[in-house]
């Protein structure tokens, strides 16, 4: 049963508008999982294919952007687990087509919010500021390369990165508090 309250009537122009608005965010989220360019392309394509199969079932067209980013994140997480050798399903576990619940936080992933986060990042001390800058601006950099650039032990890069991201998250959360 179709209704006007679904994406079933989406035309090509509206589709291309969705691509223009959200493709960059979807790609950035897929790459943020550490996926290679090829795997990230698969994750983004997977999200669009979920929209292809689910358009009739999405009940809230206003939130399709968040749905696309959330679905990309889920596909990227699945591919990331598989690349680590974990056994994962080849179909995302949804409660039926259109079942992925849009994550409200996905709606803020854009360049404007990114510039806001950069201002927070620049307020961090060292080595967090330099480490995160390298990590952010060089998506395919290995920990060994970052370790050489910062003259840090390679074994410390992962834990330091996690600690620095946690501090950055806290700074951003503080900035959003009323």
């Amino acid at each position: 049963m179709h209704s006007d309250n679904t994406l079933a009537r989406l035309d090509r122009a509206a589709w291309e508008d969705l691509v223009a608005r959200f493709d960059g965010r979807m790609w950035a989220v897929a790459r943020a999982f550490g996926l290679s360019a090829a795997d990230a392309a698969d994750a983004v394509q997977g999200a669009w294919l979920r929209l292809v199969e689910s358009a009739d079932a999405i009940r809230d067209p206003d939130r399709v952007g968040a749905w696309l980013v959330t679905t990309t994140r889920n596909e990227a997480a699945r591919l990331s687990r598989r690349s680590r050798g974990e056994v994962v399903a080849d179909i995302e576990d949804l409660d039926g087509p259109g079942g992925a619940t849009p994550d409200p936080a996905a709606e803020v992933v854009d360049a404007d919010f990114g510039r806001h986060v950069w201002r927070r990042l620049n307020a961090l001390g060292e080595p967090c500021r330099s480490l995160l800058r390298l990590y952010v601006l060089n998506p395919d950099a290995r920990y060994s390369q970052i370790a050489i650039r910062l003259d840090l032990p390679i074994g410390s890069i992962g834990p330091t990165r996690a600690r620095c991201m946690s501090r950055l998250r806290a700074l951003v959360a503080d900035g959003e508090a009323p």
């Binding site: 790609w27 943020a32 698969d42 394509q45 294919l49 292809v52 990227a76 992933v109 990114g114 601006l137």
Partner: protein
């Protein structure tokens, strides 16, 4: 705020690692893969034979998936040989009233007339995403959800 969202936003804010043109082109092209009025077949569990792995994986061997909708059962088995994807399967229950079975990837489509007992097979597909569509006379097409297979 999830870490991957912060990282994604930082890269977007710096204009680092923008989405490749080929990815955006594939996203736009996905529109043509819609099947308005089609019926999505949902995956269902396949009974595991005694002694088989419960996750259904067979160490690189074929994998069987089952989908059902509109009274049809679509069994799909995949394998990768020489870097290319092979899709075989069976439509049930017999006798099947399916005029043709179409195996679609984002890049190509191959149609087969199923055998009398509903079997079909397509080889030489690029690995990645694919979906199986059953076309019936006077009925809406039934399609499996898109499945991702890489070597």
């Amino acid at each position: 705020m999830r870490e991957e969202y912060l990282l994604a936003a930082l890269r977007m804010g710096a204009g680092a690692d923008p989405v490749p043109d080929a990815v955006s082109a594939a996203s736009r092209a996905a529109f043509a893969l819609r099947l308005p009025g089609g019926v999505a077949a949902a995956p269902v569990d396949v009974p595991v034979p005694p002694g088989a792995r419960s996750d259904g994986l067979e160490d690189g061997g074929p994998r069987l998936r089952r989908f059902t909708a509109s009274g049809l059962t679509i069994d799909v088995e995949t394998s990768v040989s020489d870097g290319l994807l092979e899709v075989a399967g069976q439509i049930g229950p017999a006798p099947v009233a399916v005029a043709s079975v179409e195996v679609r990837t984002p890049h190509m489509s191959n149609s087969r007339v199923p055998s009398r007992d509903g079997r079909f097979a397509v080889a030489g597909l690029p690995p990645g995403w694919f979906s199986v569509v059953c076309h019936r006379s006077g009925e809406p097409p039934v399609f499996t959800r898109w499945i991702h297979v890489r070597p």
